[in-house]
């Protein structure tokens, strides 16, 4: 017999009932999974920094990209339980298909997953590069952060010898933190700003952030550091420029 064209085969394929049903289920599950994207952002709260905006954007994008993948798996799983299942405890009377694989499907799957991977990668690298353009930014205010068991303290080295266990930051100004520890590993995490870096003994690690919202946010230690790890937290107060200066002066610092 003469070979049939690929388009005819595809047309025949898409006419099959089970293919149509799986497709409908695919669309359904994709939508359900996609609904998680706004839920995630809601749970994370309003983004308090440029970095957190990137994080929430990325998670939303990844969720939308993951939705069809998850949807496909769920669709096949659900349909197989509905339509291809042999009822009861006894062995099925009939066999399933004897197909041992399908070259085009395998290749397509590899290509699509590689493509998705490339997109994820490019997106991720682009976001990282963005975060690093601030590296040469001379305007970043430098604040030293010291973690010890179980208190964070901050040295506002550009404003004299002000030291506090609370962090005050002026809004919309980039900050560079030099973070270190005097004992074990801690992790300096400004939760709503989506930035984190470990505090290690004997070395200084850097973290940049630009706060964009005025308000009070949480700083939590994110690396188990012993007895009172859960109590090792403090607040960051993001205030206007004027309020920041006022606080500095009140604590014996200078402009």
């Amino acid at each position: 017999m003469s070979p049939v064209s690929v388009s005819t085969r595809i047309r025949h394929f898409t006419k099959r009932t089970y293919v149509r049903h799986v497709f409908l289920l695919w669309v359904f599950f994709t939508i359900i999974v996609g609904l998680f994207a706004p839920l995630q952002s809601k749970l994370m709260g309003p983004a308090a920094s440029t970095q957190m905006e990137v994080v929430q954007e990325t998670m939303t994008l990844f969720t939308y990209m993951a939705a069809p993948v998850a949807g496909l798996i769920f669709a096949v799983v659900a349909y197989s339980l509905l339509a291809w299942r042999s009822k009861g405890f006894v062995a099925p009377e009939y066999e399933g298909t004897s197909s041992r694989g399908n070259g085009p499907t395998t290749v397509a799957w590899m290509l699509v997953s590689s493509l998705l991977c490339v997109v994820l990668l490019i997106w991720g690298l682009a976001e990282m590069a963005d975060g690093q353009t601030a590296r040469g930014d001379e305007r970043a205010r430098i604040i030293n952060v010291t973690g010890n068991q179980w208190v964070w303290n901050f040295d506002y080295i550009e404003n004299g010898s002000v030291r506090s266990q609370e962090l005050y930051l002026p809004v919309n100004e980039p900050v560079l933190f030099h973070v270190t520890s005097v004992d074990v590993n801690h992790s300096f995490w400004i939760v709503q700003m989506g930035v984190k870096v470990d505090a290690n003994a004997g070395v200084v690690t850097d973290m940049r952030v630009t706060p964009t919202l005025i308000g009070d946010f949480d700083i939590r230690c994110a690396e188990l550091c012993g007895l009172n790890h859960s109590a090792m937290f403090t607040k960051v107060h993001v205030v206007s420029q004027g309020d920041y200066l006022a606080w500095i002066l009140k604590n014996g610092g200078h402009q």
Partner: protein, 624 residues
Amino acid sequence: MRKLNVWTGIVFGVIVAVAAHYLAKRYIPMGADETGTVLMDRVVITTMFGWTLGFMVGVGAFVGPYRWMMNRDLDHDDQMWLAGKDAGMARYFRFTTDHKVVGIQYLVMTMVLFAVGGTMAMMIRTQLMHADSTFLNNTWYNTLVGMHGIIMIIATIIMVSGPFGNFVLPIMIGARDMAFPRLNALSFWLIFAAVPVLLSAPFLGGISTGWTAYAPLSTQAPAGMDAYIVTIIVFAISSAVAGANITTTAVTMRARGMTWNRTPIFVFGTVASVGVAIPAFPMFMASQIFSGLDRTQGAAFYDAANGGSGWLYANLFWLMGHPEVYVILLPALAALLELTPVFSRSPLFSFNSAVGGIAGITGLSMLVWAHHMYASGWAPDLNGPFMLTTELISIPTGMLFLVFIGTIWRGRVWGRLPMLAVYAMLFNFLIGGLTGIYMSDVPVDYALHGSMYITAHFHYTLMGGALTGMIGATAYWFPKMTGRMLNEKIGIPAFVIMQVGFNVTFMGMFLVGLQGQQRRVAHYDKLFENGNFISTMGAYTIGFGALMLLYTVITSWRRGEVASDNPWGAKTLEWMVPTPVPLENFEVPPVVTSDPYGFGGPDAYDLEYEADRRPSDDLETERV
């Protein structure tokens, strides 16, 4: 030799431990500038190694080498005795070389470890039910978190390769036993020796680190940390021995005619898993040896003030820690891949892709470790490359998903418990895997690292994926290993209850993780209270389901319905031998002529395909 068993092992272990303790206290010097804690660490470590050595001697682990040195090598009767011939139940309580006995021993050990680790989980979740709970103090909470972690990690590492890699794999390849039967028993009894050592940690002051035992906090930790160190060193030896055994067996002892193309996928998964473990676990062992030296000898491997670095520990640990999750996952997935064709009555979809997927995961797993260290500040410039390798690993993992759904596609699905485990795994591991992709993105990881989101992710993959796979494997091979069918009238409801509880628990953790709760905290902000309460209720549900499942296993084992030789109609070699399996498995070594996936037949759509067929198509046509 014939008088040695687990009881003589325990007695001798205790004697040597006490002697070692006394000698250590008496003779180990303490430097002028050292304090009592250092001496205590030295004494504790000496005592624990004394126990381990004494137990291994007492249980008869060294009988073989000893007799060889004494020129009274074991003769055939001795070896038959060692293999447990005609010994009844007693052979499970001594150093027995028969791989089937070792498999059962591993199965019981795994269940015990899960019970202990699971109880600890109940304690942890009870504490976390309220934001200001006073159930446990911080020291005990941190200890339980660390103990739960390491017990579960050890249990999940051995849970499929131990019971089924030992019992099933040799029969599946047509062999009479494993390549090194005495090493096989050795690997089991080493773990048995290590368990009391590990469980003594809470009574020695506990461990203040999590299961990752990060330095330099581990240097500061109380004497319980020494128990952890000794356990890991012993466990690393056990897994190295087991790894050598499984690899050699699979490579050299396959039956005639069993080419690699006809080798069941379970063999590939198990060999890949130990293949990854062999280079990885020595890193863990080294990290703990250095930690022990820091604690007892003032070595400064991890002490920055004296030239060391905490990052050395982190690198050594994660060089183990990442491959290790694939050590956990691969055998479980491979077991499910093995049983899916049987329960879909359809061949494995693209056997070559399954092997390729396993190989890809294995290879890439050694290249991704520093994604656990994105936020550590160690090498920010390497974050990009590690993000690349980590995201690449999603490709071979995706191939395995394709094989699963491809096998199910147009199959005839038989909804017994092993197959339900496949479905549960597909659901759970998908969620776990996709959330892993989020975390592989560096900026997102800066937000999520160290939060409960991570905890939820790895429970979804290791528990929802791998442990579910082990439950499926247990249900599948139960008739062959115990001679009875696992009662599914209670087993399936138990399994469903566990899965529902599991998803409630860990979805709750994703929730609070996104809201900003850190890991390993005994108290948390009021904001997270609702999510934690939901998680705790889910955890109690898991507990109920797990206990129901344990009840099912115990009652089925004792008086379940007697199983036929091949109740599932499977085609791998272990189902071709009688149940109970004879001592040497095969009377005549089998000769293999095809792969074990010859299921399936034509259905209505196949007739339609006739019209679409290309003349060059093979006998095994491609159907979509």
